[in-house]
Symmetry: C2
Subunit: 233 residues, 2 copies
Amino acid sequence: MSDTDAVSSAQQAANTLREMVVVGRIGPGTPLREAALAAELDVSRNTLREGIRLLAAEGLVEQHLYSGAVVATIGAQQVRDLYAVRRTIEIRAVQLSVYASDAQFVALEKAVDEEAAAARSGDWQFVGTAGMHFHQALVGLIRSPLLDEFFGRIVAQLRLAYVGMSSEADLHRPWLVRDRRICELLVAGRREEASLELERYLDDSEQLIIDLVRQHHASLTEKRQARQGLRVI
Amino acid sequence: MSDTDAVSSAQQAANTLREMVVVGRIGPGTPLREAALAAELDVSRNTLREGIRLLAAEGLVEQHLYSGAVVATIGAQQVRDLYAVRRTIEIRAVQLSVYASDAQFVALEKAVDEEAAAARSGDWQFVGTAGMHFHQALVGLIRSPLLDEFFGRIVAQLRLAYVGMSSEADLHRPWLVRDRRICELLVAGRREEASLELERYLDDSEQLIIDLVRQHHASLTEKRQARQGLRVI
DNA sequence: CGACCATGGGTTGTTCAACGATCCTGAGCT
DNA sequence: AGCTCAGGATCGTTGAACAACCCATGGTCG
């Protein structure tokens, strides 16, 4: 009965690789050296390559012919794209909350509670993931496995935009109270207000992350120029 | 300058395989035998497997451990899922048509014109693809590469639901006039009416395809029972 | 007669070693 | 300084091999 469908080694390799990427153990831009990774994950290079192809299809890594795969780097343009998707899907979810079941509302509230608990215990990184759980549960209102999976990919890519950046506390603190407000409006059936609140949330969140990306990009080129400067001297 | 980024053999293999699948040269349920396909596509088995993994990520084939990949079969439930996605994305596209450029409206009209031309020349299969081009152009109004690509996958999967089915003429004829109507409402800026028209289109189209799938499924089990009957005798 | 269980062929999953293709770095040259 | 050009490093792809596993065939037993 509990035939936990066994997964191929390639799948497992892809899963552990994905985990390493989204938690920032290998940051954006880092090249994925096949020989080294195959040794570390204890699979053959061919099997590893199948896994990498999967991550590429998910948008977590970019493949360039003859120069291999690197962890995807997210720029301002792509953040905008990611939020275009979020708006499309999440706003629809709010509209469809008319038909939501009690269990689904409970899932929403549970996610917000976890978010709050994580905030109290100061684990700001987990606040971020719990927040995403809330929005994932929100998308679940549509009852579309395809959209659930797609949204999962979007969230993973979005994470690339701010993994390993400074002060995750400041990054995640503002959204807890707003997620809670959206949740309350939803269970109260005040969909119009929830929709407006959600749109404001998405606008602000997008802007924050774009600023973050820009600032990070600037600091990078600054460092690069500094290195060049040292060379010239 | 025109560095048409060369693609790997695995990519090429995936592309030709995808083409074979979506035009119905290998119908749903057909197993993909690695040795045979590798020989036919003139690549090694390892390379072919990388390609198959890509198609699996796109949802065109299903992989089962130790029994290989088969072309995905689309049931009624999955058709509903596909249309849940279409509603989410296409309705949003209509709303965002406020900000559409002239070039985008032209693209819409061009797709409808091609659809009509194909209908006049009796090429009903191409009417189907042109119709999908229209909806693809509609999604393009959102200006999100991510959604464009995702929608492309949705369309490809939807095709699996009716490739090789009887009477493509009856299947595609009704939608031409309705696509045209939606297009006209859009360029006229009458978005509310366009949205309603689109929702009706999606409802009817979904129902038709579900009926088709059900009927096809029934005929299959019928044949299977007939075969069983012969055995018993 | 039907249900159950071996057994073997066929297919997939994975590994390994190899080789050509390509990128990149750095040394040497002008 | 700028350019050319090896050389190494890495990727892309191949072919063969073997283990793991599914499935149909046929035999055995109740």
